[in-house]
């Protein structure tokens, strides 16, 4: 590459500024009366279906592994009966939302930015624009709303799978009835565990869609640009997911929900 590459701090500022503008543009258009329902539904179905298998398998393995691995430690403290509660709380509050969001960042955000990026470089977005359809509303607003909805739904589903997997893990050592296990889990889970996790997932979903679309819409000319955008969409949205996670734990702590 010729020329001096811009310094990381400059890159950070430009990207952050661009992303903030993009997000405010989203809110400027998000509640427009002419909402593209068909595209929204198509995106939701596609994104939900596309990520479901991976999310489900990961949640199952996480639930099972955490259960099997935690048992000896808890047994050493004579707290083996706490196992269902401990696994359920750590799954629902932290592991499932973050892992699901990261999977979606890898699958949905990269896919979106690659799709929109190649539409950009082949002038399809321009073509939409000149046919009198606002491409931002048609492509970005629908996609961002769809991930904002689908990621929390996937999280709820994955919570269920992880808890069931934990029961499977319990049974590997000694049989436990599903009824008993279920009661232990639901007795331990408070609204203060479930609600913050869900709200956090909504933000995760928003970030996945917004970053995917932002990187797609700002793709530089050429196929190389498409690849780089997809890559950056994954890296930046994963990073934002962790930052939101960090903020969320501070906020719930301040509210006395921890």
């Amino acid at each position: 590459m010729k020329g001096s590459s811009p310094r990381p701090f400059q890159v950070f500022l430009t990207e952050a500024g661009g992303f903030s503008l993009f997000v405010s543009r989203f809110f400027g258009n998000a509640f427009h009366r002419r909402f593209e329902w068909r595209e929204f539904i198509r995106q939701s179905v596609q994104n939900g279906n596309g990520s479901l298998p991976l999310v489900a398998v990961t949640a199952f393995i996480m639930g099972l592994v955490l259960t099997v691995q935690s048992r000896p430690t808890l047994a050493r403290f004579g707290a083996e009966s706490m196992l269902p509660a401990m696994v359920a709380i750590s799954m629902v509050r932290e592991i499932v939302p973050v892992i699901t969001a990261l999977i979606c960042a890898g699958k949905i955000a990269s896919g979106m930015s690659a799709e929109l990026g190649s539409m950009k470089v082949t002038e399809q977005i321009d073509a939409m624009e000149v046919s009198g359809t606002n491409p931002f509303r048609y492509l970005a607003v629908t996609r961002i709303w769809s991930t904002t909805l689908m990621v929390p739904l996937l999280v709820i589903l994955a919570d269920g799978i992880a808890i069931w997997a934990s029961w499977v893990g319990m049974n590997m050592k000694e049989p436990v009835s599903w009824q008993l296990f279920q009661r232990q889990v639901f007795d331990s889970l408070a609204l203060g565990d479930v609600l913050p996790a869900l709200i956090k997932s909504i933000f995760f979903g928003f970030v996945v869609g917004a970053m995917g679309c932002f990187k797609g819409f700002t793709t530089a000319k050429g196929t190389e640009g498409v690849g780089r955008s997809a890559h950056n969409a994954v890296v930046y949205s994963s990073l934002l997911i962790f930052i939101i996670d960090l903020l969320a734990v501070q906020i719930t702590d301040l509210m006395g929900l921890n």
Binding site: T122, D126, A127, T133
Partner: protein, 257 residues
């Protein structure tokens, strides 16, 4: 030679539908347009000629405000394009068809969905049956009725161009901006496209700006030719005037056409 297609003579009291004044556009240090003027009258075809990279595509992108010029004025159908709000701009864009040099078909949609896409904004005005009829009519006009269910990736370059043409014309725009409609096509298909452009001009009184290097277009379709050189309008005239010109730059273009 009996030529089946000749440009329709523009109707007499000439109504100006598009006017560019002192158009300027720069990308950084690259001053692509440096004060370009052009008028287009109703029912007329103007061909824009220019070397590769001279800014022809950029020029017509300014007209639909895909690019924002850095100076000058653009008036289309009596409206100041550069001052329009988003809603009015979208309204105007429906009346101005744009054929992309790259075809720019939506590759996640079938041919039929591509053609229906511009109709969406008029969904309430056009019933499903009418939309169907329009799609059929346009596909027939470009001779590709059998490709309805295909995806753009299943079409050849020339077929893509014809579908893009059908998509551009489906809203029966008053003005059409063609970016190299015949480039890369075989001479027969090229000529068919020229005839389609002419038919449109005659039937609907469409006015067009046609960017092209094609002799067929110059001879058969263009009422007037404008030569873009170094960001300005270097010369303007009819095909015959250009043919007869002694100017070395103009001659160069006609030698290679």
């Amino acid at each position: 030679m009996a030529s089946p297609a000749t440009p329709a003579t523009a109707p007499q009291p000439r109504e100006k539908v598009l006017s560019l004044r002192g158009l300027e556009l720069a990308f950084g240090d690259n001053r692509v347009l440096r004060g370009f003027d052009l008028d287009l009258y109703r029912g007329e075809n103007v061909m824009v000629l220019g070397k590769s990279g001279s800014g022809k595509s950029v020029l017509i992108k300014c007209i639909v405000r895909l690019l924002m010029p850095t100076g000058g004025s653009i008036e289309v159908l009596g409206q100041d394009v550069l001052a329009l709000g988003q809603e009015e701009l979208d309204h105007l864009r429906v009346k101005v068809g744009f054929l992309f040099q790259s075809s720019a078909l939506y590759d996640s949609m079938t041919v039929e969905e591509n053609l229906r896409f511009p109709l969406r904004r008029h969904w309430l005005a056009t019933s499903a049956g009418e939309a169907d009829g329009l799609v059929e009519e346009m596909l027939g006009a470009v001779g590709l009725a059998h490709t309805r269910k295909l995806y753009p990736s299943e079409l050849s370059g020339g077929m893509k161009r014809r579908i893009a043409l059908a998509r551009t014309l489906i809203l029966k725009p008053e003005i059409v901006l063609y970016d190299e409609p015949t480039t890369g096509l075989d001479p027969i298909t090229g000529k068919e496209i020229v005839e389609l452009i002419l038919k449109l001009q005659r039937t609907y009184g469409t006015s067009s700006i046609i960017i092209s290097h094609d002799l067929h277009v110059a001879r058969l379709a263009a009422n007037r030719i404008a030569l873009l050189h170094e960001g300005r309008k270097y010369a303007e005239g009819t095909y015959d005037e250009f043919r007869a010109s002694q100017d070395p730059l103009i001659q160069k273009f006609f030698i290679f056409m």
